[in-house]
Symmetry: C2
C-alpha cells in the first residue's frame, strides 16, 4: 500500500516556467517528479497546494505524494535534495493521513510580495523584489491594504480570462510591513553574510502580506499594483475601496511583476 | 581638470569572471567602465581596491575614477545604475582628493566567508554560501581562527604561483560568527521577504570574518578550508598553529570555493 507524504518545498522561481508540469518548459513540479522517479521506479504525481506562475517563488509550498518505497523520510529528503537543482529544496517531509491532497485540503495560503522603495537594490535581492524608484508611503498603503480584509467580490483584481464559478473570496490578513535590517549587528538584510552593510543601504524593503482561503488568478499581483500606485500617490487611499466595489478590472492598476511574489506558507 | 571620485560597489560575483577586465570574459571592472563610456565620452579607468576572483562577491568594494564630466554625483549614481546589469550596483559616489587611488590608499580590507552547516540551504542563499553537510563545531573554529590574529608569515595559506616579495601579513580580526534569523518576527534570514520561514529552517549560517591590510592570493579561502576541516573534526584545533608555523601550503586544507566569499568593506 503506498504511503501518503506531505512535502514542504522552497524554490527560487526565476528560472522556472511556474509550478505546473509542461511539455517542454522547466517547471518545479516536473523537477520534483523527475527526482522521485529513480526512488520509486514509476512516475509519482506531485500535487502542489498552489500552482505558482512563472517567476513566482515559494518559501513554504506544500505538496502531497503517494509513495510505494519504504525509504525513511529523512533519507528521502537527503536523496531528493542531492538530486534536485539548487533552486528547489525540499525543506521537510512528514507522514500524512491516507487520502491527504495538498491542493484540496489547504485551508489558508499566505503570500508575500516584496518591494524595494527608493534607493538601490542590493544585488543579492534583485531576483526577489520589485524596485519602485519613488519613496512609497507605507502608511497610505497599509490603510488601503486593510480595506481588503473580509469577504468580498474580488472581480476587479482578477486577471481577464478567469472562468471560476465565483469571484467572492475571504481575506484574513492584508497588511504592509517594513523590514528593518539588523542595526544591532551592523548587518544587512541578509543576516550579515551576503547582502550589503547597513550603513551602505539606501531605500528600504517593504513587504505586503495577504492570507486567504483562496485567490483568483493574478489577484495578489493586481492588488499590489494598486497598492503601489497608492503608495506613490498616483491614486488616493480611498480609491482602494472604490476599485474593489467597482468589480471592474479596468479600474485596478497594472499587474505587479511576478518576481516580487512568494508563496510564503500553506495552512491545513 | 578631471575630478577624482570614490565609488562604493556591490556585486553578485556568480556570473562574473572576477573584477579585472579581460579580453573576452564578463568582468565587473569592464561592466562599470562600459557604463561610464557614454557619460564621459572616453574610456574611464576604474581602479578597484581589490581584484576579486571569479565567483567572489562584493558588498563594499571601493573603486576610484577620474572624470571630466561635471555631472552631479547623485545623477551619475542613477545613470550608472540605470545602465549597469542588475548584478552590479553602485551604492555611493563621493568626492575624493586629487590623486586618490582606491587600490594604493586602502588601509584595511574585510572579507566575509559564509558557510551553511548541516540541514538544507534556502534557495535564495545558494549562490552565497558553501554548504557543509556536517554540523560544524563553531567553538573549535573560532578558537582556531583567533590563532591567525597578529603579524605572521602566511605562506601556508598562499596559492601556489604567488610571486609577492613577502608573505608576511598582518591580521587584525579573525573570527567566527553564527547568524541567527529574526525569531522575534518569525522571519527567515532574508528579513522576511524572500527566504524561508524560521520554523522551516534547518542547519545554520556561519560566517568567518577577517580584516587585514592585505592578503595573499587565495589566502582567505585557504584559511576557510582549514577552519572547516577543524569544524568537522578532520583536524584538531591545535593544527591551525602547526599549519601556520609550517609555512607549507601542503599542510593546509583544500581551497574553499569562491562563491562563499564576499569582499565586505574597505577602510581608508
Amino acid at each position: 500500500v503506498p504511503r501518503t507524504l506531505k512535502l514542504t518545498i522552497a524554490y527560487d522561481g526565476t528560472d522556472f516556467a511556474g509550478w505546473q508540469r509542461q511539455a517542454t518548459e522547466r517547471t518545479v513540479q516536473a523537477a520534483i517528479e523527475d527526482a522521485l522517479l529513480p526512488i520509486d521506479g514509476e512516475r509519482v504525481i506531485v500535487t502542489g497546494a498552489g500552482r505558482t506562475d512563472a517567476g513566482v517563488h515559494a518559501a513554504g509550498q506544500v505538496a502531497s505524494i503517494r509513495l510505494r518505497s519504504s525509504i525513511a523520510n529523512e533519507i528521502l529528503l537527503r536523496a531528493l535534495n542531492a538530486t534536485l537543482p539548487a533552486d528547489v529544496r525540499v525543506l521537510a517531509i512528514d507522514d500524512a493521513p491516507e487520502g491527504f491532497n495538498a491542493q484540496f485540503a489547504a485551508k489558508r495560503k499566505t503570500y508575500r510580495y516584496s518591494l524595494w522603495s527608493d534607493g538601490v537594490v542590493p544585488p543579492a535581492l534583485r531576483r526577489y523584489v520589485w524596485h519602485i524608484p519613488q519613496r512609497l508611503s507605507v502608511a497610505a498603503m497599509d490603510e488601503a491594504a486593510a480595506v481588503l480584509i473580509g469577504t468580498h467580490d474580488f472581480s476587479a483584481f482578477q486577471a481577464s480570462g478567469g472562468d471560476v464559478q465565483t469571484t467572492v473570496r475571504g481575506v484574513l490578513t492584508s497588511r504592509i510591513e517594513t523590514m528593518t535590517p539588523n542595526a544591532a549587528t551592523g548587518d544587512g538584510l541578509l543576516a550579515g553574510a551576503v547582502a550589503v552593510p547597513v550603513a551602505m543601504l539606501s531605500g528600504r524593503l517593504i513587504c505586503y502580506e495577504i492570507t486567504g482561503a483562496g485567490f483568483l488568478r493574478h489577484m495578489v499581483r493586481n492588488i499590489v499594483g494598486t497598492l503601489v500606485d497608492i503608495g506613490r500617490d498616483r491614486l488616493a487611499v480611498g480609491e482602494m475601496r472604490a476599485v474593489l466595489e467597482s468589480r471592474d478590472r479596468a479600474r485596478a492598476s497594472a499587474t505587479a511583476p511576478s518576481h516580487g511574489l512568494t508563496l510564503w506558507s500553506v495552512d491545513y
